[in-house]
Symmetry: C2
């Protein structure tokens, strides 16, 4: 390549003398808005807080907003830096801006004739409970009161306003117990023998104001500040101080909001909705927040202040009433809503006040909505060309979809929660309590809906569990038998509810002083773990058309694929219906829990020789094959990852003397021998014991049978021209040699079966990465594996040294006390477990660039974890069938967020 | 700095044409030695094998060695490459070299008048059982036999030699069962009615030779090869083939010796020690292999071949006898020994033959020796200036020292091993069997030595354990109560011996058809896990002076420091006596197992409120303090790392109904309540449960009490001018926040105590790294910790997902089948666990360069693991007191090997 001649330009070193003013640099601490022009914008949330930025933005849009100004978060930070002193020049700026508000509103702060009253409220970058409430009507004193009376020609209104102001100021700014004001009010009402505030007359209110002032003096040692400027100063300080209020600090800690953001302070001219019948106040949404329907959805209260709506003393009217009463205002509101939606490109909630026929918008922000509404609004807005599909996807929180996918307890219902356990399997269930699987089956046969309540469940209970609406256990954790089977069945399940005392024999349980007997109704909330007395109303939503549109888009914009964990043809069908592109985890052990099969399996365990074991296994093989045929058929050519036997053998043996005796008779094996076998198989730490491929290596005939069943199923279907892609997964590999040996066995067996059937199946052999050692030696393991599937449940247990079943004794404490941010079994612990996963991904791909990587732990359905999986470059996640939609949306989010698409989103 | 002008010399590119001969490159496959000159040297072990290199070296030293030659390992490799054919030219070389031997020895191979006979033997780089044995007297046939008769004038000798040759050749080269030759011999002897070979006359032997030839023909289908060259060819092939013999292959696999080394083949002129009274043969050592004493230590048999010494038919004479009989030869031998020692700079074993007054050395190699001898020889040789101190250290295998540190079963004794369990605590113990702790105490009081045999032990058994000579349990693993307490007490202990069936009530156990009753003697070998019937003789060596010299040198050349794990003043004293420079792990929980203390501790566990717990803890504090005072005093200013409470609380509660009832009465707490508490505390996986700092966080008052006890002990001693350096260690940290909280508590408590005592103590706070998560987030944790101590027992359990107590069901299988190289609980799994440790070391030092790093798992006493700890840069290892010497020597080895000092070692 020839080099182009370059003209070399030499830069002269010019010394630019910056002529900075020697005067003190002026910081701008206050931003004005009013009369259609604001100094700030909607983008300036960091500086003006959410509320201030919103007010500025609305003002700039030409939407009628009472004039006012915002003191910046920077001022707040300076205030604390200076040891709770206003930064230099701030107060002067406040005064200057107050003048501008006076000019705009045509009245004067502290003026005895035509006083300007203001509201003062906090407003941080993030909406935050525990910050200072609003102080309304600030600026009132005995002098300006007269002006207000003069202005409104309504003495009662003025005194009522004054009384409210002192209450708010006293309780919010100077922290007097609000109840003390209320007690005085009640005293007056009692004395007069009335019930409602509105029944008090001017005289009563006048007297009350005096009492309030006295109370103020008694509590604070000072007179109620009559100087409006003094009032303002105190209120601003109170706003700033509230940044470090207990609740605010706690909230920030809980939500990971930094302490050094500070809050802004908004001072806005008061407008009054309670100045007669041509006044009023209202709140609403630009679309229906429940259904998403495109219609102005609001309520309105004539001749009232915002406070009255909240207080619920009067029932607000539907917004249609406003249309009748003030058609011009209604139409103006509708236009504003459209304007706001077009501007913010989202559904908004709004607050407005009408003062003597003039409309003021007090606030707007993105409106909260149900999952159903979120979906409809997102899809509609794409149709309306307001937003693109990516933005639409980002508008829906993946977790929200869960609402649509399980029957839930009607959120409006009042329920009596009597206990709380672990939320093992989501959804809700209502039914009559029964205390044995047999009872459950008998009652269900008679058409009763039952909830099976047990100390813990065992394989024998499967029948009862299958017919029950929900399952409740007193013991066991998130991986207990009940929990695993419950999730597998998609059945609502609450486990480890230690608060309940079950008397299985006597057929009742107690919790505190409540006794619940067989046949009594209870309701379970599997999403929260709540146990509810009686029948709570359930809601079972049908899926709207827009749901499927969203799913289609999500798939289009995702990189991560979504598979499902499914052990039965039924689960497989659900998974496929929800758009899973394969099965990421098919556990084979649950297939053994069926009463007929477990007998053969126990026979296998109790065998003394390889020959005996093989004989027993031969009995099980047809069942396994049948199961696989069912699942493979449902998945129609999509890959199915089958995990070979994983749990320790003792899990399959009976626990109680009775059960042992039954087994002894059934199998013709002495009780002594069974007990001795149980003793031999007992483990101190079963989680770290003789399970997974350790069983496969010591009892190769078990895995051999399973591989045969898988491959025979695949071959039989292949002969019928049904494509099957089995992926055989070896669990609990710690050392590459374990995988080597099990892979050799698998390949040898598979080849034999295919030869016998004269069919070629496209199968893979891979492993789970669920031990730290496997992750750290992933380079070696990847040389033998065609795929890795991260078993993040066990990986978390092993890396964290945390038994999920036992962690209940301290993990909740850790989370409550913020010792750890989040339950590592819910979201992947990215700092610890996640780092180990990253090492495995890098090392694995280093030696096997075609390695397929997935995750099949329950984290596979958790949006945060899915984002992490996307980041570290996995190929797929696998989750329970009912979480597939959540996972698909989360996968799309992960990809879109990576591209910075969250910036597209309206910032409000 | 001024630059020196440089003369720039430009190298001319000169093309050197290498004038290689175009003729076929001649490989050299055979190396000659004889008459004081050898083609090979002692360095050429790779090519000539150990034996061949040794013969060459001796020849070069001018030591009389029969002439001969070595066929190289390369020839062997070629042989296999060519499909078991001699490489081209090799046989011709053999013939050429044979001529040289003939010339040197003055006789001819295959000559009927003066025949040369040779020995043929294999010799690989590493000495290896399973390789081909020696074939002596090769070259004999009916013709050369006459020559031998003629030469020796001893027909009987000649026929005896012939018979032996056919036996050896037939059984070793052509694989005929040796027994068939022996049967024929016996037949002859029986027929003649004699017992000894020597009682057979020439006629008998003549007849036997004919029978042997017939047997050979019957077995191989061929005549016995009469052509000496054919014999030689067959023998060489047999040597090569033996490289892939079953035993050799297995041995190589077990010892990690590559399969592609091949073996050399040595062909050496026969000399005869059985040619009359001026002939003889002997073996010996240059120093006493048992005591290390510097004296020629050998045995000798006149008029005999080497074979006869081995066969043990005649009792050999002490070498002093030789001095009397052949003073010249004896003096020559002594000189040769000195020469060899000066040359090889080590103690050697030798084999020699005297043929008609002429001495021949047949072999020399480094001599095996006892630990005691190894130490003495190493120290003596430094004094003699033969070797330096570093070499002296490398001459002693660390593990060998163990022999000196525990009483051991006399290795010469014949014992009856009836079962084998896990070697939980080394040493040996003899005593009468008892089946309860109470019996143990009662019997011990009466002066009986007892072995306590239990299914498993519990805290209540402590008293019985303390008085027993040794402990044997049927259940439990290497970290079971018995094992841990046993090691802590330095008491011989065998656990998990599943083969024995204990009937505690009836006071006997069975194993197979053997019944052992109360009062019967058994012997335990805690180093191998063997259970021996009866009283095996024990040897309890006292430590020689040289031991302490070696320890001093080891310390001097080590980088790693050695501390000890000690929980009691007694252990601390042992540790200090053995030269530990501190305590690396003082477990506080064993202090609670004392009957008086456990009561208070159980009271604490059963408490319902913090106040009650504090009250119970106050009762325990004086005990803890007392313990610490004892330990601190013993350690005289050396650092003591105290680990705060680690095990889950349920370990401290009683297990059986009886025990619960006793506790209930003692404490005035209902049985129901105790049972319910036990139920609550039960865990599925205690190893991953509510323990370590998780207890400290949920019950801070426990750690607070412990820190108080530690600091009060330290302060009290400081007041008495005794220096104490406590290092307080927080166990089971997974997340930095856990350490933060516990460190805050520790520092606050410690400062309070110091203030109260008005004393300043130099204390540290650190943590154990025993979970993968702690290792992977070590950078964060190091910011809070002053030291890390790797708890590699738990780290291995967590990283490997392996419960040590349960692994017995498959880990032995894994090791037997070479699925994993080594038990990861014995030597650190460097590929997995080790990598995690390295990550922790790097990350930890990154954020805290002063971080002190140690290891306190049982790997701290394992030489291989110590070498690894040295490599990754730890500061110290900590091991059980009795292993301190082993660890110190291993630490020195690690450092010396790093410097390539192993090259200093004589290569033989």
């Amino acid at each position: 390549m020839a080099l182009k001649p370059k003209t070399r330009i030499q830069k002269k070193s010019v010394k630019v003398v910056s002529k900075t003013k020697k005067s003190k640099p002026e910081k701008k601490y206050v931003y004005y808005f009013g009369d259609g022009k604001a100094e700030g914008t909607g983008q300036m949330k960091d500086l003006l807080g959410g509320k201030g930025a919103g007010l500025a933005e609305m003002t700039n849009l030409g939407i009628p907003v009472p004039s006012g100004f915002t003191i910046t978060t920077e001022a707040c930070r300076e205030y604390f830096r200076l040891g709770k002193k206003f930064p230099q020049g701030m107060w002067e700026e406040v005064l200057r801006n107050l003048k501008m508000v006076e000019k705009s509103m045509g009245c004067k702060f502290g003026d005895a004739k035509n006083p300007l009253l203001v509201s003062v409220r906090s407003g941080a970058k993030f909406s935050m409970p525990g910050m200072m409430d609003t102080v309304l009507n600030l600026g009132l004193n005995d002098e300006t009161l007269k002006g207000l009376i003069n202005k409104t020609k309504n003495e009662r209104f003025a005194y009522d306003t004054y009384r409210r102001f002192i209450t708010m100021f006293g309780s919010i700014v100077t922290d007097i117990d609000r109840k003390k004001f209320e007690d005085l009010l009640d005293e007056v009402k009692n004395k007069k023998g009335v019930n409602l505030d509105t029944e008090l007359d001017t005289k009563d209110l006048k007297a009350l104001v005096e009492k309030y002032k006295k109370l103020y003096k008694k509590e604070t040692g000072k007179d109620f500040p009559s100087d409006p400027y003094e009032q303002l100063k105190m209120a601003i300080k109170a706003v700033f101080d509230s940044w470090y209020g207990d609740r605010a600090v706690t909230y920030r800690r809980l939500h990971g909001i930094p302490d050094d953001l500070g809050t802004a302070c908004n001072i806005v001219a008061m407008v009054f909705g309670n100045m007669g019948e041509n006044s009023g106040t209202g709140v609403g949404f630009t679309r229906d927040p429940s259904t998403g329907e495109k219609r102005f959805f609001a309520e309105f209260l004539p001749n009232a202040q915002g406070e009255d709506v909240v207080a619920g003393i009067r029932t607000p009217l539907k917004i249609e009433e406003l249309k009748k009463r003030m058609p011009r205002i209604y139409s103006q509101l509708e236009k504003i809503c459209n304007k706001l939606e077009r501007h913010y490109k989202d559904m908004l909630d709004i607050e407005f006040t009408i003062q003597e026929g003039k409309l003021y918008m007090l606030q707007t922000r993105v409106g909260k909505r149900t999952a159903r509404a979120a979906i409809k609004i997102a899809v509609d807005m794409v149709k309306e060309k307001l937003i693109d599909k990516k933005t639409a996807l980002l508008r829906i929180e993946p977790e929200q979809l869960n609402q649509l996918l399980h029957p839930t307890i009607d959120p409006k219902a009042e329920v009596k929660v009597i206990a709380k356990g672990l939320p093992a399997s989501p959804g809700a269930a209502v039914g009559k309590v029964v205390f044995s699987a047999q009872d459950a089956e008998e009652w269900a046969e008679k058409g009763e809906k039952v909830i099976l309540v047990r100390n813990e469940t065992s394989p024998e209970d499967i029948g009862g569990m299958a017919v029950a609406q929900g399952i409740l256990t007193a013991r066991g954790g998130m991986t207990s038998h009940a929990a695993v089977v419950g999730r597998g069945m998609g059945k609502c399940c609450v486990v480890g509810c230690g608060a309940i005392n079950i008397h299985e024999e006597e057929k009742y349980f107690t919790v505190g002083d409540i006794t619940v007997r067989e046949g009594d109704f209870i309701t379970l909330n599997g999403t929260t773990g709540e146990v509810i007395l009686g029948q709570a109303p359930l809601v079972m939503p049908s899926l709207p058309e827009e749901f499927y549109t969203i799913m289609k888009w999500a798939e289009k914009f995702s990189k991560l694929q979504v598979r499902a964990n499914a052990d039965t043809p039924k689960d497989a069908r659900v998974a496929r219906d929800f758009g899973a592109v394969g099965i990421g985890l098919c556990r084979t052990e649950h297939m053994f829990f069926d009463p007929e099969r477990i007998k053969a399996f126990r026979e296998m365990i109790l065998s003394d020789s390889v020959e005996q074991r093989r004989k027993a296994l031969e009995k099980i093989k047809p069942y396994q094959k049948e199961d696989f045929i069912g699942i493979f058929k449902e998945m129609k050519g999509l890959p199915v990852t089958v995990r070979l036997l994983d749990p320790p053998l003792h899990e399959f043996l009976p626990k109680t003397d009775e059960e042992i005796e039954v087994l002894s008779k059934e199998m013709g094996v002495s009780v002594k021998k069974i007990k001795s076998k149980i003793k031999t198989l007992e483990e101190f730490n079963p989680m770290l014991g003789h399970r997974g491929c350790r069983l496969g290596i010591t009892y190769p005939e078990v895995y051999e049978m399973q591989v045969k069943a898988i491959m025979e199923a695949a071959c039989e279907l292949a002969r019928k021209k049904i494509k099957v892609i089995p992926e055989i997964m070896i669990p609990l590999v710690a050392h590459v040699n374990e995988l080597k040996i099990m892979k050799d066995l698998t390949v040898k067996t598979a080849e034999e079966v295919m030869k016998q059937y004269k069919v070629k199946i496209d199968y893979k052999v891979g492993t789970m990465i669920e031990l730290a050692r496997a992750a750290i030696t992933a380079d070696q393991i990847a040389e033998e594996a065609e795929f890795f599937s991260f078993g993040t449940n066990d990986l978390t247990q092993s890396v964290y040294g945390l038994s999920r079943d036992d962690a209940g004794k301290f993990l909740p404490f850790y989370i409550d006390h913020k010792i750890i941010e989040e339950d590592p079994f819910i979201s992947i612990d990215t700092e610890g477990v996640g780092q180990i996963m990253e090492i495995a991904v890098k090392k694995g791909r280093r030696t096997n660039k075609n390695l397929k990587l997935g995750i099949c732990g329950e984290h596979g359905g958790d949006p945060k974890s899915i984002e992490f999986c996307h980041k570290i470059g996995l190929n797929y996640v696998s989750c329970s069938p009912y979480r597939v939609p959540v996972a698909k949306l989360a996968a799309a989010h992960a990809k879109l967020k990576e591209k910075g698409a969250e910036l597209i989103r309206a910032t409000l």
